[in-house]
Assembly symmetry: C2
């Protein structure tokens, strides 16, 4: 049995909890009498990843009041409801350099930011004005959506806050005086005190943080709680003012958007990665949970998680590059065509991209395209790309719509659902580049173009190719060839006709003399294509009892010469040399295909 | 010809320059008379990517004085020289809510932060104390290293600043009074005014920013200017206080660490991606370049570049997963062994990782390992991984050193230079997991283990295998087999012996009857291995004139039976059936290998 402790996050939480637990400095908030009654020993830590898995230790299901942490989420709700323009008109977003309960307003007589009490009350007033009597219910419901469960009110704490919140009354009346609180003061304060008295757990706080980190979508419930923009704007204010007077130092040392509350909670976020929730009541002199701050510092330091510590790699998105001189599509082509591709295949370059492509990655990819401009075709495969950031979509929008070259044709390989990858530039990509759903199709297409371009004397007619040119019949004497040819059956197939059906007995070899055919699985999965001058069903020569493993369907009108095993047997009985040559040639064909497959494997591997 | 404009950054810069140029609001700084003389029309923008490519437009090589932008880089130098503890003892890191030239200090009588004048002067004082008379030279040299060229002093601006800088004199004496300036006041001011009067261009500022973004290594010159920690700490202070009283709003709207100067310059950074430099003299009332702010806002908005707008994808690092029931190493094994692997290969799982693995990615990878704990072997290939962030190295350190399972053996495939990928956990990985340099080696090893585990009755002796078990000799009658065997030459090879030399004439087939051999290129590149019961050099049967394409070397003591083409000819002339069967069997062997190669290609492709 693999032990749960094998996961680094669990190990870390274990260690952090143990080593920090011993710190008994600080004291629970006492300015609200009800808060002072809490057991200061309680200590819980939870981390929820952006794919919705929670790691936790200690008292992570103990409820406590959310207090100032609500400021961040109510601010987020206001941004979502009213937009940032209206909200920032009422409430500034500059750090104040003042204590959280300062009554001082900024030079425009507005609160400095939504994380100080004046700003938070002004923010609740905005919600009250918007929702009227339903304001508190809506706030509680939204915070509950962030947490992924219904949050209840601690009536005692609410009463206690209401009874002793005279400084906040003063602040509210000052806001009212400055025309910044357009509702009844007591009504707004009632909602504000209740929003601060909502009960959460450390685990709730981690999910709430993860919802912000996940751009407003709760990763546990999957519910879209809030928009992307409001999430990022809220985290921005948490960066500049989330940790009271410790915010600058917090950014310097920890570097995770965070918000603390006097109930002993802290929620911290690493965007697109996780939310953290901590609960430990004793506070330092700035009002932040002592152990909570330590957990965040330890986590950030141990794992180097500062938001500015990005460690991207410009070149990460192009792990695989090759050209068509060695790597081919799954189409079997005539010898003549293969020779052309050997010689001119380097004129078609494939860049297989992967990972998450960001701003600078897309810039690097564009530059690589331009640097390879001597090529006739550049195939950009996005098959392995997990995601394009919106920055890279913008870069590609500009790049693809402006790329103009008399020389190079851009080919883009997307995914079956191109929209999900390219978003609103899907149409533009299809318009400005040659677009394919599979890389094999794209390579096949480029091969066709290269052959047309570099083999001026190619026979592009529909005329059947002579049997002599079939690699399987190589080195046969003219008389043997004639003998064989007399024993084949020529058939014309219309486009779409099924030439071989999977499961049929393998009774002979088909020489494709004109047109193109496709090898298909279950009639609709393309496996390989064949051009005139090649053969199929040749396995019948060595394993005549095996059933056909796939369908062969005419892609165009086609002509085949069929040589039955029966006839091969009959002819060779008098002339064993014929059969021997067929077997030798088959060996050579298979060997060549094997070599091609292996060079494809080397190109795809980094072994 | 591909046009330069095809690159999105150039297109964007072009558009931004055009659309913002028309804004003639604001006015050049006039509190220093010399600065007011500048041509307000000048406007240059440059972006330097973290791999050292600069995109630019407009007046990007016009020199102007760096002014307050120097604060960020001198602070960075102080952090590097003295460490953050000493520096933050002298200078706070909280936003002040005050103007940049405020004389007010924080409650501990220290400057609020290094981006206000008091903090910057205190910072220069730290450098003066450290370097004495050389302080200015060292500062100029460091800023020059950031820019990648020698920066000169504008003597006129310096004299002008010196002559009119009385408010800064007052600040300095106040610092001295508070025991926060341990040098001669005029000396410190002399250095400070000169550091502000260094001449830079927009292009310089972009390289300076890119050096911060690149964690202290100048991406153009390659020189390590400053450490990673100092870079990140400097960017942190730029986030909270870099744009004067506009810092909160800047974080909210733009979200790139930045610093502006009254000379009209702004440098902004997207960590690990790029540095931006703008020059346009007219300032808004907060002292920031009007056009400069607009460029940053436009860039951030257009490309969605806010530092908190990360768009990682938890699952991005595991694009390829398969097991050994279908995918095999390049070793040819006996039929019996192959059957075992078909049946039990699913007990060995390969996760091919790729991209940049970050905190949450490594967590997801660890979880995937734990979720596959029913497997006997889990092979984690880091071959395609571009980089492990330090966070993920920590996660793997904890994971690998604590992973304990009675069931699952972890196998790690690193790179040739494992240190460069795994850093200081290289030793730990080699100690706690089975470590290989190539994926093929790892798969080969796991195959061996699976066979040993699931084929209890396997013949593990060194006894030669009988010729009858050779797939190439399948279906031969006992008498034909005997005839062939009589015509083979048995040879014992010692470990290390060269059995076939590349370039030799292909004169026959080797049946490996005991031991193991390796196919090697140039004696040291491993291509494939063979076990007893398989054959090599079999191409001689169909292409006897072709030279051997690789060396074959005995991995262990080995025994081969050599069948020359001459003997095959001789025997078959009387008994053509023998040759026909050999050719047929060769076809079947090649066909099977081809199928294996193709399923490997499907596993590696996402086509």
């Amino acid at each position: 049995m693999v032990q749960k402790q094998a996961l680094a996050l669990d190990l870390f939480l274990n260690e952090a909890h143990q080593s920090i637990f011993g710190d008994r400095s600080g004291a629970p908030a006492d300015y609200i009498p009800e808060l002072a009654k809490v057991d200061p020993e309680q200590f819980g830590i939870a981390i929820t990843t952006s794919d919705g898995v929670t790691h936790e230790i200690g008292e992570t299901s103990t409820e406590f009041t959310i207090q100032s942490i609500s400021k961040a989420f109510v601010y987020c709700l206001a941004l979502e409801l009213l937009g940032s323009e209206k909200v920032t008109k009422a409430i500034g977003i500059e750090p104040s350099g003042e204590a959280f309960n300062s009554i001082r307003l900024n030079p425009e007589n507005r609160p400095f930011n939504p994380m100080v009490n004046s700003g938070a009350i002004a923010c609740t007033a905005l919600i009250c004005r918007h929702y009227g009597d339903e304001a508190f219910e809506k706030i509680a419901a939204t915070l509950g959506d962030f947490a992924g469960r219904k949050l209840l009110l601690d009536e005692k704490v609410y009463s206690s806050e209401n009874a002793t919140g005279d400084r906040n009354r003063a602040i509210s009346w000052l806001l009212k005086n400055n025309d910044n609180l357009h509702c009844d003061v007591e009504e707004v304060l009632g909602v504000y005190f209740r929003q601060c008295s909502l009960l959460v757990t450390a685990s709730d706080l981690s999910v709430m943080g993860a919802t912000l980190s996940n751009k407003g979508v709760n990763p546990v419930t999957g519910k879209k709680v809030i928009g992307k923009t409001a999430s990022i704007q809220t985290m921005s204010v948490m960066v500049s003012a989330g940790m009271y007077d410790y915010s600058g130092e917090w950014t310097f040392k920890v570097g995770l958007p965070a918000k603390s509350g006097v109930g002993g909670g802290i929620t911290a976020v690493l965007p697109s990665q996780f939310g953290l929730g901590v609960f430990s009541p004793p506070l330092d002199k700035l009002g932040n949970s002592v152990r909570g701050v330590k957990v965040c510092e330890m986590l950030s330091e141990h794992f180097n998680l500062h938001v500015l510590k990005m460690e991207d790699d410009v070149t990460q998105n192009i792990p695989i590059k090759y050209d068509l001189s060695k790597i081919r599509s799954s189409r079997s082509r005539s010898n003549r065509d293969n020779k052309i591709l050997e010689e001119f295949g380097s004129q078609a370059i494939v860049l297989e991209l992967s990972g998450v492509v960001n701003f600078i990655g897309s810039n690097f990819i564009s530059r690589s395209v331009v640097e390879n401009e001597e090529a006739d075709y550049i195939i950009l495969s996005f098959k392995r790309v997990a995601r394009l950031t919106s920055a890279s979509i913008e870069v590609f929008r500009l790049f693809f719509s402006n790329f103009s070259s008399t020389n190079t044709q851009l080919v883009v390989v997307g995914k079956e659902d191109a929209d999900s990858l390219f978003g609103d530039i899907t149409g533009l990509i299809k318009e400005h580049t040659q677009h394919f759903e599979t890389l094999d199709q794209a390579i096949d297409w480029a091969e066709d173009r290269l052959i047309a371009r570099y083999d001026a004397e190619r026979d592009n007619s529909d005329d059947p190719i002579s049997m002599k040119q079939q690699p399987l019949l190589k080195d046969l004497s003219s008389s043997d060839l004639e003998l064989l040819e007399q024993n084949t059956v020529k058939t014309q197939y219309e486009r779409g006709a099924k030439i071989i059906e999977s499961g049929d007995k393998a009774d002979g070899v088909y020489f494709l003399q004109a047109g193109r055919v496709n090898v298909m699985l279950n009639e609709h999965v393309y496996i390989a294509g064949l051009d005139k001058g090649t053969c199929f069903g040749e396995l019948a020569l060595i394993a005549p009892d095996a059933p056909r493993s796939a369908d062969v369907i005419a892609e165009t009108d086609a002509q085949c010469s069929f040589l039955s095993i029966e006839n091969v047997e009959r002819i060779s009985s008098g002339n064993p040399k014929i059969r021997e040559l067929l077997l030798r040639n088959l060996g050579l064909i298979l060997f060549e295909r094997l070599q091609q497959s292996n060079s494809k494997i080397s190109a795809l591997s980094v072994n």
